[in-house]
């Protein structure tokens, strides 16, 4: 009962933070705007303000929310999956793999769209998926699956992908600003196409994750125990690995690599409301999204220009994470 009120209270706080965050995102920007302008937009539908408020600021805040939610959900799944607090989209190699694909695309000079998706996004997606599949297959020896091997192969494959990415960037120094985008992340150029590209994946993955959350709780007890309790362990594991990859790769394909979110947000939530995955997934997604809305707000207002958002997430996230850890005992 007590945890229930605690969860409700947290949910309420998060929703308030979300609404406030969205509102500040709408009003804050290089062009000075206030409530009156927003009101004018609603009443008169002024086209300049519509572009600024809806096409630029709102799309940006929503994309930040979606990417934060996707990365945090991906991290929450992976940490449960590996029963390892170190796990996250980066550790398994998804993010590095996805950014490798995107940069490869720049290197080859491919710049077309296929049914609304840029080739870069498709490449990012495919190579993120390829790396994880490879890592997954390599860590299976004679049908026995080893978590340590998977994590270590993931780290090695991720390092290889990053090195190749850096190499291509070095060869093509002319597109340096692209490199900064793919390696440190940014929402500066977000648009509605990107949102429509990410939304279906996120909700699909979220529903599946929520559906299988009970099985995830069983997996934590160990595969043998889970199996004996009626959980189809190997297929559940495959599904979880697939959706966490999907979530991370689709995020990277629209916003570049944004570090720290997928790793720390699930930890915050676990510290706050406990390890039950049925709630962990929802709260992680919500918190991750809100965290990125505020981080992006800082990234675009702190200096005259834009800061890569990866800097903000690490600077804000790491100390808070350490603080929470120290409070736990």
């Amino acid at each position: 009962m007590k945890t229930r009120t605690k969860k409700l209270r947290l949910l309420l706080v998060l929703l308030i933070l979300l609404v406030v965050g969205l509102l500040i995102s709408l009003l804050e920007g290089p062009v000075e705007t206030n409530f009156n302008d927003l009101w004018n937009l609603i009443i008169n539908n002024d086209s300049t303000f519509r572009t600024i408020f809806i096409d630029l600021r709102l799309s940006r805040a929503l994309l930040a929310f979606l990417v934060g939610a996707s990365l945090s959900l991906s991290g929450a799944i992976l940490q449960g999956y590996f029963q390892n607090p170190m796990a996250g989209p980066f550790v398994v190699g998804v993010s590095s793999g996805a950014s490798f694909g995107a940069v490869l695309c720049i290197y080859l000079g491919l710049n077309i769209r296929i049914i609304g998706f840029s080739v870069q996004s498709i490449f990012a997606f495919a190579s993120g998926f390829a790396i994880v599949s490879l890592v997954y297959l390599l860590s299976q020896r004679k049908g026995v699956f080893k978590v340590e091997t998977l994590l270590l192969t993931g780290i090695a494959a991720g390092a290889l992908a990053s090195a190749l990415t850096s190499f291509m960037i070095f060869l093509k120094a002319d597109s340096f600003e692209q490199a900064v985008f793919w390696l440190l992340g940014s929402f500066a150029l977000s648009d509605w196409n990107q949102i429509t590209a990410v939304v279906p994946y996120f909700f699909l993955c979220f529903i599946i994750a929520q559906w299988l959350a009970k099985d995830m709780n069983l997996l934590v007890l160990g595969d043998d125990v889970a199996q004996s309790l009626g959980c189809p362990v190997s297929s559940v594991r495959k599904i979880f690995l697939a959706i966490s990859t999907f979530l991370a790769a689709s995020s990277v394909s629209v916003s570049g690599i944004i570090g720290f979110v997928g790793l720390i947000v699930p930890h915050w939530i676990r510290i706050l409301i406990g390890p039950d995955h049925r709630h962990l997934f929802l709260f992680s997604s919500l918190t991750g999204g809100i965290f990125l809305i505020y981080s992006d707000l800082l990234a675009r207002t702190l200096l005259r220009g834009e800061l890569p958002i990866g800097i903000i997430t690490a600077v804000v996230g790491a100390p808070f994470f350490i603080y929470l850890l120290s409070q736990r005992k």
Partner: protein, 302 residues
């Protein structure tokens, strides 16, 4: 009553087509994207310093409403609204300025260009090319889209005149000195085959020591530089003070002492803003560089 109204509308549309329709023309920019020309643009945003310089030279200074934070020439450009940099122009500011023409170039990130197009902004993107002659084409193109063809033609004509004058003065050059171009202050950053700076050195009858490396910008190897033994070192910098700092650094670098240019003190200053912007002032840079490399052919002028 109603039909009269319809007739009036028809008549107006017809008149409109007759009077203004002929002016509506579609041309393609250097990314092959169509650009619809209607009346002469009144609110222009420039996404690069050389474009700003060309616009001011075409007497369009009054119509320029936004420039980058690097647009510092002519002085009047400093007073214009800043829309950010070349690689990080701010979309909000651009939209708020309500432009009817945005001139960008291939140095603006493609992602930005696509985003601007996605917002249905009137964007025209220019390719700056790899040689000096492209400047003439760029000026003519800007003249076309701003409907200042005549002015552009006059400007290009005078620039071409100065260009051929330099070439005539250099026609009897016997020896083309080996040149090392230092850019970006300290360190041995230079330009390779694909840059118009390399073309500038060639047109001034010099040999760029890094001129056979198929990259635009690169960090040169010290060993390689000693081996190439350039006779002249040109330091591109923003100011004389910055130049003397870099010059001091090169002269004090023990490994570089044996290089001919250092021994004979042929280390010269070239205004970075002239040489790195493919605009009208690139010809100034050419004349300057030609004088530095071959002073004997320019004696009578001074």
């Amino acid at each position: 009553m109603k039909s009269k109204k319809i007739h009036a509308v028809f008549l107006l549309t017809f008149l409109n087509a007759v009077l203004f329709g002929s002016q509506q023309k579609t041309i393609k920019d250097d990314l092959a994207f169509p650009f619809v020309m209607t009346s002469p643009p009144q609110r222009i945003i420039s996404l690069a310093p050389n474009i700003t310089e060309i616009l001011f030279d075409l007497d369009l200074g009054e119509k320029v409403v936004g420039v980058t934070r690097y647009c510092d020439f002519p002085e009047k450009a400093l007073k214009k609204e800043k829309i950010g940099g070349m690689i990080d122009p701010n979309l909000e500011k651009i939209i708020a300025l309500n432009p009817d023409l945005i001139i960008g170039f291939r140095g603006n990130p493609l992602r930005i260009i696509e985003r601007l197009r996605g917002l249905h902004l009137p964007l025209f993107v220019l390719e700056m090319g790899t040689n000096l002659e492209t400047v003439f084409i760029v000026i003519e193109k800007i003249g076309t889209i701003t409907q200042k063809e005549e002015k552009a033609e006059i400007l290009v004509e005078s620039l071409k005149n100065r260009y051929s004058k330099t070439q005539t003065a250099l026609r009897n050059v016997q020896h083309e000195p080996r040149v090392f171009l230092s850019i970006h202050g300290t360190g041995l950053w230079t330009c390779g085959k694909g840059s118009f700076l390399n073309d500038l050195v060639e047109k001034a009858r010099g040999v760029n020591v890094a001129g056979n490396i198929p990259r635009k910008w690169l960090h040169y190897n010290r060993e390689q530089l000693i081996h190439d033994n350039p006779e002249v070192i040109i330091i591109l910098s923003k100011s004389e003070t910055e130049f003397s700092k870099v010059k001091e650094w090169i002269k004090n670098e023990a490994h570089l002492k044996g290089i001919k240019a250092v021994e004979t003190d042929r280390i010269y200053f070239l205004d970075e803003n002239l040489a790195t912007r493919p605009g009208p002032r690139l010809i100034d840079a050419l004349e300057e560089l030609a004088r530095i490399l071959h002073p004997q052919f320019f004696k009578e002028e001074r």
